[in-house]
């Protein structure tokens, strides 16, 4: 595998313009290493996305950075404060949207925001003004006094976004902010995040397993797999790192036995996945591979039902760096869909 375009060089001293500085942070549970010596920095105003499948260690990493669990080793400075030695300074500087929807369902959005403003010690006068502004900002003014349980999933997520901003933090952590939302609500949350981020000059670190989310929202993407940081760069540069690769998605009717092995032997093919009748190939000689594939199918008397040629996606990037496709990990229901998420 070729060397990826990874920005792993971490400065020895935290520069003033670094919002998040993570150094060799590790978390083990017994013999299992959930996060394995990950290091990166996030600049003020930047949106960094942690992209990886379920179980990659993204949420564990975010929980360490938001003081919810202690690292086994390594360190992290958030707004200049150490997550282990000065957790309260970190907590005052950050707004967090956990993976689960954590608003109190019986309370209204206004009450949820008010309780959290009190927990952060926001003065009464400022509280009243700020809560009104935030509810307007997330377009929930009309629903401000209805119980949260009456709100849709997208609206509840917006309540959480407003709640996490109630003490005017500088750094925003979002753990899979759109998991479980329908496509329209997801787009709505993206638009809202972009707007709020620019209005409030926030630094954002979000985790996602949606490639389109990472692609559209993030300035840089960190690909995480098996607790390790695999690659870190802008979406454009990550895709450029695997440029020249063409993705072919071909449907046969039907595919003969050992067809996957035959496809693997075609000229220029880097990888083949699939079974049944649908196969996905990546190739560094797209046109030659396509011609060879059609010839092979004709020679073997295999009927090609459809063929599509795709540009490089983040899935290709993930495949390139990990040897597996991201979507293979996402077939099962996401843990967040369950009403009960057991915590360690």
């Amino acid at each position: 595998m070729s060397a990826p375009a990874i920005a792993r060089d971490v400065p020895r001293e935290t520069a003033p313009d670094v919002a998040i500085d993570v150094r060799h942070i590790t978390k083990t549970f017994g013999t299992f290493t959930a996060v394995d010596a990950i290091s990166f920095t996030v600049a003020p105003g930047e949106i960094l996305g942690l992209l990886g499948p379920n179980g990659a260690g993204k949420s564990t990493l975010v929980r360490m950075l938001t003081t919810l669990i202690l690292p086994t080793s390594g360190s992290a400075l958030i707004a200049g404060a150490d997550v282990v030695t000065h957790p309260d300074d970190v907590r005052r500087a950050i707004g967090v949207i956990p993976q689960a929807l954590t608003s109190d369902l019986e309370l209204s959005p206004r009450e949820n925001l008010s309780i959290f403003a009190k927990l952060y010690g926001v003065p009464r006068d400022r509280r009243r003004v700020l809560i009104g502004e935030l509810l307007e900002s997330v377009e929930l003014t009309d629903w401000a006094d209805k119980p949260v349980k009456m709100l849709s999933g997208g609206m509840r997520r917006r309540v959480e976004i407003a709640r996490a901003l109630v003490h005017e933090p500088r750094i925003f952590f979002l753990d899979e902010p759109t998991t479980g939302l329908d496509p329209v609500s997801r787009t709505g949350v993206w638009d809202m995040l972009r707007r709020i981020k620019s209005e409030r000059d926030l630094t954002v670190l979000l985790t996602t397993h949606y490639m389109d989310e990472a692609d559209k929202l993030c300035d840089r993407i960190a690909i995480v797999d098996h607790g390790k940081l695999i690659a870190l760069d802008s979406p454009t540069r990550l895709k450029a790192a695997v440029s020249g690769i063409t993705s072919l998605e071909v449907s046969f009717a039907p595919a003969p036995p050992n067809w996957l092995d035959d496809l693997t032997r075609l000229p220029g093919v880097d990888s083949v996945t699939g079974d049944g009748s649908l196969f996905r190939l990546t190739s560094h000689t797209g046109a030659a591979t396509t011609r060879a594939l059609l010839d092979e199918a004709a020679d073997r008397g295999v009927s090609v039902e459809s063929i599509s040629v795709a540009n490089t996606t983040l899935d290709d990037v993930f495949l390139h760096f990990t040897g597996r496709q991201l979507r293979d990990h996402l077939e099962g229901p996401a843990a967040a869909d369950s009403p009960f998420i057991l915590r360690r």
Partner: protein
């Protein structure tokens, strides 16, 4: 302080919007008070007793007249006359009779000769409550019969006992009220405290406030104050409504209400501390639900709420000694049934305070501010 109050406000606002929780926490103890109070508090009546008179003499007739008098007045039992003892015993074995009173041949002769006359009561002893009631009634009847037989010396044949009761008669429903108040507090502590706490934890709600600057002590105090307030509310409702239902004399005596409130507060704080200690490291929402029944049995029944602790075997008396319910029940019974002063309940309050201190200390040591 403002963070503690924010936690309390959050919990009480949620509680106010959950009428089902409020009703369910109060309904179980109220139902238990009324159903158990009347089910166990009543006098056993309308038992069927076969009377076999194999004597037929005047003293035997007088004894039979006494059985008819009981059947007409106390109604503990109704009589059915049998001439054949075999038929009466068959009726007893087939469940048509609860007992057979046999007046043997020669009974009248022995009475007149003062030669230890005897009658026999053959009982269906599969139900101890029925057996006890029947034996007590027939024994009383025979004692009454003996009183009518003059002593030859003019001096009573045996010593008699006169019982003087200090307090008015206490129906069982009043006896049970103290336990029901404890049960209402415990139910609220379990449902409104333990189960909601673990459900919130399992749903990830705790993550929301663990990322705020709230301290461990503020969190613990917030949880416990709101839990105790809900439990006190449940206890006060049962204390007042239950007193009226059970017919406690002068239920709204202000001095007694204040002492009752003190016991309810101390018990609520003790039980919420115990609950918090048990839940501090728990995360599975099924566990508190499973624990509900177990704890209910372990705490409620050994406390003396439904039966005197003096009747318990040694191991159960030990359990009763450490059970906080025991002290709550004792204090509430003292106030509800005897309207005692503070001195009589002070040892109970002292134990509840010590229990709170121990469980709260352990809970604080077990509680983790991180996930």
């Amino acid at each position: 302080m403002h963070r503690i109050m924010a936690m309390v406000e959050r919990d009480l606002r949620r509680f106010r919007r959950s009428p089902v929780l409020i009703v369910m926490s109060l309904i179980l103890p109220l139902f238990q008070l009324v159903i158990l109070g009347y089910a166990f508090g009543g006098t056993v009546k309308h038992l069927k007793v076969g009377v076999v008179d194999q004597d037929g003499g005047v003293p035997a007739v007088k004894l039979r007249e006494l059985t008819v008098a009981i059947a007409s007045n106390a109604r503990t039992f109704e009589t059915v006359s049998y001439s054949d003892p075999g038929q009466a015993l068959t009726a007893l074995r087939t469940g048509r009779l609860n007992g057979v009173l046999t007046i043997p041949p020669g009974f009248s002769r022995r009475v007149l000769a003062k030669d230890e006359p005897r009658v026999a009561l053959i009982e269906d002893n599969t139900d101890n409550f029925v057996t006890g009631a029947l034996a007590a009634s027939v024994t009383g009847m025979v004692d009454a019969y003996n009183l009518h037989e003059p002593s030859t010396s003019g001096i009573p044949a045996a010593a008699t006992l006169d019982v003087v009761e200090v307090y008015p008669y206490v129906p069982y429903i009043q006896y049970l009220l103290a336990g029901s108040i404890l049960l209402s507090i415990f139910t609220m502590v379990m449902i409104g405290g333990g189960i909601i706490f673990i459900d919130d934890k399992a749903r990830g709600l705790h993550e929301g406030y663990l990322v705020t600057p709230i301290t461990k002590l503020e969190l613990i105090l917030g949880f416990n104050i709101s839990g105790a307030l809900k439990a006190i509310l449940a206890g006060v409702v049962l204390m007042t409504v239950g007193s009226v239902i059970a017919g406690i004399p002068n239920p709204f005596d202000p001095a007694r209400l204040l002492r009752l409130l003190l016991v309810v507060v101390m018990t609520s704080v003790a039980l919420i501390s115990m609950m918090f200690m048990l839940m501090a490291r728990m995360s599975d929402p099924l566990v508190p639900r499973a624990m509900f029944g177990v704890l209910n049995t372990l705490l409620y029944f050994p406390s003396g709420a439904v039966y005197p602790t003096q009747a318990f075997p040694t191991w159960m008396r030990v359990l009763s000694k450490v059970d906080p319910f025991t002290y709550g029940v004792h204090a509430l019974k003292s106030l509800l049934l005897k309207n005692t002063g503070f001195g009589a309940i002070a040892p109970d309050l002292l134990y509840l305070a010590l229990f709170t201190a121990v469980t709260m200390t352990i809970a604080t040591m077990l509680f983790r501010r991180t996930l």
